[in-house]
Symmetry: D2
Subunit: 135 residues, 4 copies
């Protein structure tokens, strides 16, 4: 596991309500304990965690592979729950990978959203599915 | 987008400090606005969002594909930032998919962690990478 | 399915022994029959086949996610067979996607290998895992 | 690389026209030479090749992620070529992984197709996208 786990620690000391004293860091702590209790850090290299993340994302996509887009917008409750379980797996590995690399996932996400605002200006991106380098 | 967006709405009305009045729901709101401003909901069927999620997870894994596990535990700062950007993309699509399906990702993650506690009891899972049905 | 399925037809008419009168096109024919017998073409849009391909690739990776590279070079026979079954699934969807798009997979692969020869000249790429734009 | 590379060698000695003396094994040989010239075997553990395969499958899916199924059935020529290049990458890694594990990909695919015939009997599977355990 990364030696510098500062993002989480620093934020807690500040007790900033807009900081990571929320559900995502709670989960991060629980996952960390879960892995240590089972002596699993040996398997949790970032390389392996990134693989596990893709595997779970594939299991999530599997629920939709033969569906039409319309059907995917109107899932039956049991199918929605099954998808929710895979989505949970994706989130859990995302958090573990972030922890292992000392990355604050929320800060990274905010940063990326700002970059996307610039890459996809409303007047040029509106109604288009083109990638930013094709706008 | 799904008609039943109750998870987020209900939690906010209760003004529960342990609920989704945190960074993940802030991001959810920003992503929702971002997509509406650009008239992108037409492309955001759950089927398509699940595909986009896998694609980003693949881009994240690409950074590690030729690395050894040891190298992945000691990333150079610029590589760590690049991985952080892909991890952000994965989180952003995870949130958008959760919103589209009316799923509370934190609740789903907590639920899954509880299930994992049962599937992987410490005494049987300790030090082993075996899947739960092979323990 | 694509209307222009010329690559396969043209090659068979020429009766060229270096052409697609081999195992891959045999499999392509069998898969085509298999899908038609089951009235499955309705589900086999290229979009869906590409999703199925990623899903199978994820199932293949799942066998390796917690293994070390060394362990992956020395698989037990039953694990090798399990991996072989997923590799088969990946190949089957690759062929079906090629058929649906009227693409000759062998020709495309040869073409890409030639491009790779240029992108990764031996004197610059030797012993390096860097991507071509970083050589 | 695997010590037992018998599937390919045995088939060539027999000079069986229905065996692997065809385009797939030609490509396998070229890929092997390509990697050796560049001293790349060190990076080509099955674990790494499986990761590379998923990454390429993701790049292939990326072309379809915002498209409708209808649009994916009518690709413009340049888009079809771009997809063909990614499909080629998937096939190249499939072959390299098969070689590394001493697996005959065609034999494995034929085997899987036979298993699928049993798992999805025409009378029960016709017109349905259900998985075999839900038929």
């Amino acid at each position: 596991m990364a030696a510098t786990l500062t993002p989480f620690v620093q934020l807690e000391a500040r007790n900033d309500s807009t900081a990571m004293t929320d559900s995502l860091s709670d989960l991060a702590r629980q996952l960390d304990t879960f892995a240590h209790e089972r002596d699993w850090q040996q398997f949790h290299s970032p390389k392996n965690l990134a693989s596990a993340l893709v595997v779970e994302a594939g299991e999530l996509l599997e629920h939709f592979q033969w569906m039409t887009e319309e059907q995917s917008r109107a899932l039956a409750p049991d199918k929605r729950d099954a998808v929710g379980a895979e989505l949970a797996d994706v989130l859990l590995y995302t958090i573990q990978l972030a922890t292992a690399l000392g990355i604050d996932p929320i800060a990274a996400a905010r940063s990326k959203l700002n970059i996307n605002e610039i890459k996809y200006p409303v007047d040029r991106a509106r109604g288009s599915s083109r990638k930013y380098d094709e706008l």
